[in-house]
């Protein structure tokens, strides 16, 4: 992966505050790398607040996160660690066990964790930057790249690599653009039908495949590896739907909700971030 540290984008206001939001759960082993990456950011650290939201860990993630917060607090504007309500495990009625598959439950828990963290941590910050705790790489100028688009919602590529192969592949299957085929397919679907990507062939175009339209491209769905959202839009009510919203939940649901709120979504197909391979 080639990356030049001198390739800094211009026209980005360096006086806007950023709130980095990260849900964590059994993430003890990722926190060192997580903070090392945050330290690598070139965006002024006195404008960066970090908020971690922990729930239902069994490996002492919360205590360790508190220690890390203490260690790194002098190097950022503020670091908060929030304890979130553990997910309410809803019993699945026998008759609907095929419709409510595990993806919907998992991602609705994820959405509720994100929403709780957002509501507890966000004050008057200009931008919310959602970063997964298990990222292994993003460019030091990540924030500048994302902000340079001046869009209310921005995502970069999120790739991953197999440990034995040196080839990168698309990790984030939630960042896509609708096609005629996908729109047509969803037209006939019942209202509570949940469309998930990454399970078989897709009707959508993923961000990494849209490389013929320039550096910034419009999108219809976003993932949560790295996701920049304008703070005021969150405060207006843009959240991660924990229910099926327009056939999607969580981050993709947020993108659908943003579309309803007349907000544009920008993707950066040439800015690469790397997620831990699963």
């Amino acid at each position: 992966m080639q990356y030049s540290p001198f390739n800094v984008s211009t026209g980005v206001e360096m006086d806007q505050s950023i709130l980095v939001l990260t849900p964590i759960s059994n993430s003890r082993n990722f926190l060192d790398q997580y903070f090392r990456l945050l330290c690598s950011l070139t965006y002024p650290h006195n404008l960066i607040t970090i908020a971690l939201g922990e729930d239902s860990s069994t490996d002492g993630t919360y205590q360790y996160a508190l220690e890390m917060a203490e260690t790194f607090a002098p190097y950022f504007r503020d670091i908060q660690v929030h304890k979130l309500d553990p997910p309410r495990v809803a019993p699945i009625p026998y008759g609907s066990r095929h419709r409510l598959n595990i993806q919907q439950i998992r991602r609705s828990h994820m959405a509720m964790a994100r929403n709780q963290l957002l509501l507890r941590a966000m004050a008057d910050e200009d931008w919310a930057l959602w970063i997964d705790v298990d990222m292994v790489f993003y460019p030091a100028t990540l924030v500048e790249h994302l902000k340079s688009t001046h869009a209310p919602i921005v995502v970069p590529n999120c790739l991953s690599s197999h440990p034995t192969m040196e080839k990168y592949f698309i990790y984030d299957r939630n960042t896509w653009r609708e096609t005629n085929a996908s729109r047509h397919y969803l037209e006939d679907a019942p209202e509570d039908y949940l469309q998930v990507e990454g399970y078989g062939p897709s009707r959508r175009r993923f961000l990494a495949e849209i490389i013929d339209e320039g550096l910034v491209v419009p999108l219809d769905g976003v993932g949560g590896c790295v996701l920049l959202v304008e703070g005021a839009r969150h405060r207006d009510g843009l959240i991660f739907p924990p229910f099926v919203f327009d056939h999607h939940v969580e981050t993709e649901g947020l993108a659908k909700m943003a579309t309803k709120m007349n907000l544009s979504i920008a993707g950066l197909p040439f800015v690469n971030t790397v997620h831990k391979s699963s």
Binding site: D32, P44, E67, A69, Q80, R120, G237, K260
Partner: protein, 350 residues
């Protein structure tokens, strides 16, 4: 630039640094009375958003005498209870949220209304969110809040910059204004929610122009044990009769469900403009004190704080053919939260 350098991280591997957790104790002097402070829970480790201390209930907080609400107009309304403030084993923290805009004339009555509540005031915090006022609403709200803050757990006042133009009061019920007006209201409520909510257990939305509520309103609402709970919101007409004010609190009927089935997703269903297909809350009184409903209004609206935290908010767009408070009720049912109405508890809008 030197300040930027100071924020540079140490270039070293992170070692397991043992940290001694320092618990700082704080003493709060309220009304010149020293009160003991509960240790705040370790739920959130934050320096910026310190939560207000909870004070012990052995010395009840009482508003000054000049803040007594004039209830003569509502003397026919049954007063269920008149307990002394602070009695009862109450522990739930309540956050009262109120969006205000050009509300200078209503603020005094609004705080008298809060003072009339006999739920323990040390468990009640208040947050006002002001936007697009053309008068001195923010300044006056801040000064009234400062005066009244010793009598509650905490009072905060926020100012929000909203781009939307202000809809004049006289035309606010014009149907053509509704999408814009209620989108704006949803924005205002969501912003206030995000800034105001801290560690409270319940959020009570109260309109700034509510004229009368029963003193035990909060106890009534809590007793429903729902996730979203509303009382009947009425008004007194010129002959002193109680009329339904809040037409957003209703239950769907087979007729309304059938009607909505044929509408496009962008269709905004409004109530209060011509005959309704729904049943309004007061008409459900025969079913008991707590009834299930499908739409809620914002006169006085109790929401479990954890439901808000999990994402329940006021849709600022057409959601399930509804918006704002009615949209919240629709969102609540999607999230499998219960929506309850109290047809026999009446609050009065001005």
């Amino acid at each position: 630039m030197s300040s930027l350098m100071a924020f540079k991280c140490r270039r070293s591997h992170v070692s397991g640094v043992s940290v001694i957790t320092i618990i700082t104790a704080a003493l709060i002097f309220l009304n010149h009375v020293q009160m003991s402070v509960h240790t705040s829970s370790l739920a959130s480790h934050t320096t910026r958003q310190a939560t207000p201390a909870t004070v012990a209930s052995d010395v009840p907080l009482r508003c000054p005498d000049d803040m007594t609400l004039n209830v003569s107009q509502y003397s026919d309304v049954q007063h269920q209870s008149d307990y002394v403030i602070g009695s009862g084993k109450y522990t739930d923290q309540i956050l009262i949220l109120t969006p205000i805009s050009n509300s200078v004339d209503r603020l005094a009555n609004y705080f008298k209304l809060l003072c009339s509540l006999n739920y323990p005031h040390h468990l009640i915090s208040v947050a006002l969110g002001e936007d697009t006022s053309t008068d001195k609403t923010y300044e006056i709200a801040s000064s009234v809040a400062k005066r009244m803050s010793p009598y509650f757990r905490e009072i905060q006042v926020f100012h929000f910059d909203e781009q939307m133009k202000h809809v004049p009061v006289y035309s606010r019920h014009d149907p053509n204004f509704q999408l814009e007006r209620r989108t704006h209201l949803a924005h205002a409520r969501n912003q206030l929610l995000m800034r105001g909510l801290r560690d409270e257990d319940w959020v009570l939305w109260v309109d700034s122009d509510v004229a009368y509520v029963p003193p035990d309103l909060i106890q009534h609402l809590l007793s429903a044990k729902g996730d979203v709970v509303v009382p009947s919101c009425m008004y007194k007409n010129e002959f002193g009769a109680s009329m339904v004010y809040d037409k957003n609190t209703w239950r769907e009927t087979s007729e309304s469900i059938a009607y909505l089935k044929d509408q496009p997703p962008t269709y905004l269903m409004l109530e209060g403009y011509g005959p309704t297909k729904r049943q309004y809350l007061p008409s459900l009184a025969h079913e008991g004190t707590v009834v299930d409903i499908d739409g809620v209004g914002g006169c006085t609206l109790l929401v479990r704080a954890n439901c808000h935290r999990k994402g329940l908010n006021f849709p600022a767009f057409v959601f399930d053919n509804h918006i704002e408070t009615e949209g919240l009720a629709k969102m609540a049912s999607r999230m499998k939260f219960s929506v309850k109405g109290l047809p026999l508890v009446n609050v009065f809008h001005a």
